[in-house]
């Protein structure tokens, strides 16, 4: 017994004598090399390209142009700014509205499901989670078909109840409504699951105590449920906002950014900055402008992440 303990202690000593284990870098190298080559270097190059005039015309001989691209995007007299600024505003509105709507619908359904008198709640939960399970790319494309103005089933159903066809993906306003509603369909199950987890973590005694004190249903919701849920779900709400901010698939796969603006072809009415950058690259070969938009997005994402970490202290236990 004694000798065994001694042996363990010796083994531990042998183990700890080498303060730095150089072989660790061998284990780390696949991750570090791929992250450096595929994330860090492209990001640095993106910042560099944003200060050049790289495009199809200057494909092999781009030159440094300073802040010209940034000036073009932010100077209201420039035709590019007249696309960029509305696209930017729509991106912020979209991310904000869609995150808030997804969250509150998810929370609402979670509160309804978290009813101890509802015995079949597990079944409901399993069904309501389906949109989360279907790959978002496929379901978004499906919605593109269902919302087709002339042939789509959504208008066919509306026709049945006497509502005239709605130009879902064709008018600027309805296209924006469609994107937000389809995104709600895709995303509420995630929020619902998160909120249900939060609700189940609230001790039942709190509600009992509140009932004894004569608290109404609404008071219990306002003073017990909401604060507890908010604390648990906040670390997920802010990243979800940052994700929606760049939710390329939700926009591009549904409307392709359209309908097109009369004034310009660079971005349609529903384009967010990420899809505008994609079009700038692939359709117009303006790598300089795409990189400039990306830099703006990098700065914004960094800002949200900073707020997120300040607000939640997330990953503090990461070391």
């Amino acid at each position: 017994m004694l000798t065994q303990q001694k042996r363990i202690r010796q083994a531990k000593k042998r183990h700890t004598r080498y303060r730095v284990q150089w072989s660790a870098y061998g284990y780390l190298s696949p991750a570090l090399v791929t992250i450096a080559v595929l994330s860090v270097i492209p990001t640095l190059l993106t910042f560099a390209v944003a200060f050049t005039n790289s495009s199809a015309i200057h494909f092999t001989n781009p030159s440094f142009v300073g802040l010209k691209n940034f000036a073009a995007l932010f100077n209201m007299n420039d035709p590019l700014a007249q696309v960029f600024i509305p696209t930017f505003i729509w991106t912020v509105v979209f991310a904000f509205v869609t995150t808030a709507l997804n969250y509150f619908v998810g929370l609402f359904l979670a509160v309804l499901l978290n009813n101890k008198n509802m015995r079949e709640t597990r079944l409901y939960r399993a069904i309501l989670i389906i949109p989360w399970a279907v790959p978002a790319l496929i379901s978004t494309l499906i919605w593109q078909g269902l919302l087709n103005q002339s042939y789509g089933q959504v208008n066919a159903v509306l026709h049945m109840v006497g509502i005239p066809a709605i130009p879902w993906l064709i008018s600027p306003l309805w296209a924006r409504v469609s994107i937000i509603l389809v995104n709600l369909w895709l995303s509420f199950p995630f929020m619902m699951t998160v909120c249900l987890g939060g609700l189940q973590a609230i001790p039942g005694e709190w509600y009992e105590a509140a009932s004894i004190d004569g608290a109404t249903f609404w008071q219990r919701f306002r003073y017990i449920t909401l604060p507890s849920i908010w604390k648990i779900s906040l670390p997920l709400v802010i990243p979800s906002f940052a994700f929606q901010f760049n939710n390329f698939n939700a926009v591009y796969l549904l409307t392709g950014g359209g309908p097109a603006r009369n004034s310009t072809q660079f971005a349609g009415y529903t384009d967010i900055l990420a899809s505008a950058a994609y079009k700038m690259t692939l359709d117009f070969n303006r790598y300089d402008l795409a990189a400039t938009i990306a830099v703006v997005l990098f700065v914004l994402v960094g800002f949200f992440s900073w707020i997120n970490m300040r607000a939640t202290g997330a990953f503090r236990e990461a070391d």
Partner: protein, 282 residues
């Protein structure tokens, strides 16, 4: 504590049934769109769309057309290659790094994951302009393997997840192995990896599922139809001649979504049942 049946008060009863009605409406809104896709897939392509959920002339014509042209199988093959390569690659990259962070001493251990997590808050698809510009310069566009390579970066989030999991594997096992003369390689292969199998499965499947929904890099890099992934193929079906292709699109969407949806269901149940969190015992 046993649950006793008690009589519901009027307000409880009203709340319960109002909740049920709202949930039923939500369920209809979730299910019916999916049912329309099933219906469309069994409706011959030329049939006009209707609000009916029962196909007017049910047939397998769409499925037959899908396989007759052979495109669908090409997309499926390409997407499978991409998904499996990324899943396996992610396992190698994540598990080695997570092991180092969990078990080894080196400069940068304390803040390493934190720094990686911050670096990766900038999604790498934002660099598509540089990726496209760079690949175009060296003539590497339209290559499936380049598409895979570009996405093969280590994921700080996965590393963090797996590192936390490795941390739950008792150190006593390592120490016993060290006494038997084992080095890090044996501890990694023989002790930590086998015990972390559930978490490795989760990372593998989430990478797999995620890769099927990737569009922006696929659209940037891949150009010719023979390299199309499922996402690009489905997009080309629906954005082309819409009315003509809706039936085929529905069939293809169902065939691709079904296995992934079922896989997600299994994995999700797994996570929910605590299999992953509590599966390790010394």
């Amino acid at each position: 504590m046993p649950q006793f049946k008690h009589r519901l008060s009027v307000s409880e009863w009203v709340t319960l049934w109002l909740s049920r009605v709202v949930i039923w409406v939500a369920i209809i809104l979730v299910i019916v769109p999916m049912l329309y896709v099933v219906t469309a897939s069994f409706n011959p392509s030329q049939a006009y769309f209707s609000s009916s959920l029962i196909p007017s002339h049910p047939s397998l014509a769409n499925y037959r057309a899908l396989f007759a042209q052979g495109q669908f199988l090409v997309w499926l093959k390409n997407s499978s290659i991409v998904a499996l390569s990324l899943g396996l690659g992610q396992l190698v990259i994540t598990s080695t790094a997570a092991y180092a962070f969990s078990r080894m001493r080196f400069y940068g251990r304390k803040n390493g994951i934190m720094i990686l997590l911050i670096l990766q808050m900038f999604p790498n698809f934002l660099t598509i302009s540089v990726i496209y510009y760079g690949l175009a310069q060296v003539g590497l566009l339209d290559n499936l393997w380049v598409y895979i390579l570009v996405q093969l970066g280590g994921s700080a989030f996965n590393i963090w997840l797996l590192k936390n999991y490795f941390d739950t594997v008792p150190r006593e096992l390592d120490e016993a192995a060290i006494m038997d003369g084992a080095g890090h390689r044996q501890i990694f292969w023989k002790i930590v990896l086998p015990l972390a199998r559930p978490m490795l499965m989760v990372i593998f499947f989430f990478t797999l599922i995620g890769s099927f929904s990737e569009y922006i890099l696929a659209g940037t890099i891949i150009q010719s139809a023979s390299n199309y992934t499922l996402g690009l193929g489905l997009y080309s079906l629906i954005s082309g001649e819409f009315a003509k292709n809706w039936g085929e699109f529905s069939a293809a969407a169902l065939l691709s979504a079904a296995p992934l949806t079922i896989g997600f269901g299994i994995i999700n149940k797994w996570i929910a049942s605590g299999l992953v969190a509590g599966s390790v015992k010394g």
